[in-house]
């Protein structure tokens, strides 16, 4: 079914500025690159980290939207994500993203898990770009409701009864992440700095359920530092600590090194080397880090 998603995203390419403006009142008023990208959970941000910026090119007088199609090719897993996000009045952001994680190696080869992520973000104060004479960043709060869709094809790995992450030790198959994000563009240095604190009980982003018999919410720290090379190109690095709730998993922090390219204002491509740490190491006996390529195509106005 993936091609349908792709077609749908590419179809949005037809959403030219003039079209968006005349039909939807979208002003596309932000500068290129400042509309942010979609993170892997669909919020406006970097690859792994939500920022305080509101998705899309809409200014405080208007609205904007973004669609993303993302693939993360790891050693023994492949994460596919697609989603949409809408930003209104440079104040509120709503997003939806679908995650599909396929095991492509180890004894779990063939197993598939899916989840839905519904996001809400509200900008509290500040402006990441304009207030260059102050150190006050743009600050936003957000929540992500994550609902696990179950485990498929357990039979293919000799575990026909395995249908839910609760069987791996997770306490729940749905939960809410809460986060506070602060973002500042230091124009004189051509740098973007973001710091996010997330209150979460998600195991591997929620793909392995939420919490465990003994563990639940913890505060995790996420950060993005980027250098803006020119109006179309930025590169940087991200770090995201993650909980370690499951006995069946030895969850590590995730990090990436990325390049973000905006060839035209309506299209962005993000490519990264990403390392999510080990995944289900005690189960798969694969202790090595799950690392590889992150690639995301984003279309928006």
């Amino acid at each position: 079914m993936r091609w349908q998603h792709l077609l749908w995203v590419v179809g949005l390419l037809g959403t030219t500025p003039a079209f968006a403006q005349s039909w939807f009142g979208a002003d596309e008023g932000k500068l290129p690159l400042t509309a942010g990208f979609s993170d892997v959970e669909g919020a406006g941000g970097g690859g792994l980290v939500p920022w305080a910026t509101i998705t899309g090119y809409g200014t405080s007088d208007s609205w904007g939207a973004n669609a993303h199609l993302t693939t993360v090719q790891l050693k023994d897993f492949e994460l596919s994500a697609w989603g949409v996000a809408v930003g209104a009045f440079d104040r509120v952001e709503l997003s939806y993203t679908k995650h599909t994680l396929d095991a492509t190696g180890t004894a779990l080869d063939g197993l598939r898990v899916q989840q839905d992520v519904y996001g809400l973000k509200v900008k509290l104060f500040g402006d990441a770009v304009y207030n260059q004479d102050s150190f006050i960043p743009q600050v936003a709060v957000g929540a992500e409701y994550k609902r696990h869709d179950g485990i498929d094809d357990g039979g293919s790995v000799g575990l026909p009864g395995l249908v839910s992450p609760t069987q791996l030790g997770a306490k729940d198959d749905s939960s809410i992440d809460y986060y506070l994000a602060a973002t500042k563009v230091f124009l004189a240095q051509s740098m973007l700095v973001n710091l996010t604190a997330r209150y979460t009980e998600a195991n591997q982003f929620g793909l392995l359920g939420f919490g465990s018999a003994t563990e639940d919410y913890s505060v995790e720290i996420e950060t993005t530092v980027a250098y803006i090379l020119n109006r179309k190109l930025a590169f940087g690095a991200e770090y995201r600590s993650k909980p370690d709730n499951l006995a069946a998993d030895e969850e590590d922090a995730a990090w990436d090194v990325f390049v973000a390219w905006t060839p035209t204002r309506n299209i962005s491509l993000v490519a990264a080397y990403v390392n999510l740490g080990s995944i289900l190491a005690p189960v798969t006996t694969q202790d090595a880090d799950q690392d590889g390529l992150y690639a995301s195509l984003q279309v928006g106005f």
């Binding site: 200014t59 007088d61 440079d90 304009y130 207030n131 230091f186 124009l187 004189a188």
Partner: protein, 147 residues
């Protein structure tokens, strides 16, 4: 950056000479203003001329300059850019708040002009990191221009 270099009494002569040279070179480096780094008057006037060409063909904002006295606009914009980047100019125009009071400028228009200025800088080969240093000085004006 300002350095104070006061050699201590009793220091040996060649050390003093070295220190003097270091102070001189640091001082000279510290005093190269953004205005001079970008290329001074000739460069800024060329960028302003280019900006006017770009913005008058930019349908997002060109209509807002329909009544503008362009030679005067160019002179004032040059003075302002020269002044804020540390050049030897005095800005003789009205405050941003006053000159934009009746225009009802939007964030989209403010950003469009900024984008056009980036394009003008690009066309005159001003390095992007220096462009951003100018933008960092202009960006806070958003608060006075967009109400």
């Amino acid at each position: 950056m300002r350095m104070t270099c006061k050699p201590q009494r009793g220091a040996i002569k060649h050390w003093l000479v070295t220190l003097a040279l270091v102070c001189f070179s640091m001082g000279a480096h510290a005093e190269a203003s953004l205005y001079e780094q970008i290329g001074g008057e000739a460069k800024f006037r060329a960028v302003v001329d280019e900006l006017v060409v770009v913005m008058l063909s930019d349908e997002r904002i060109n209509f807002t300059f329909a009544e503008t006295d362009m030679p005067k606009f160019k002179q004032l914009l040059f003075e302002q850019l020269c002044n804020i980047t540390g050049g030897p100019c005095k800005y003789t125009g009205r405050s941003m708040e006053e000159s934009h009071a009746k225009l009802k400028s939007t964030n989209a228009q403010f950003n469009a002009l900024a984008e056009d200025l980036y394009i003008a800088f690009d066309r005159h080969d001003v390095p992007y990191r220096l462009q951003n240093k100018v933008m960092a000085l202009l960006a806070p004006m958003q608060r006075d221009i967009v109400k």
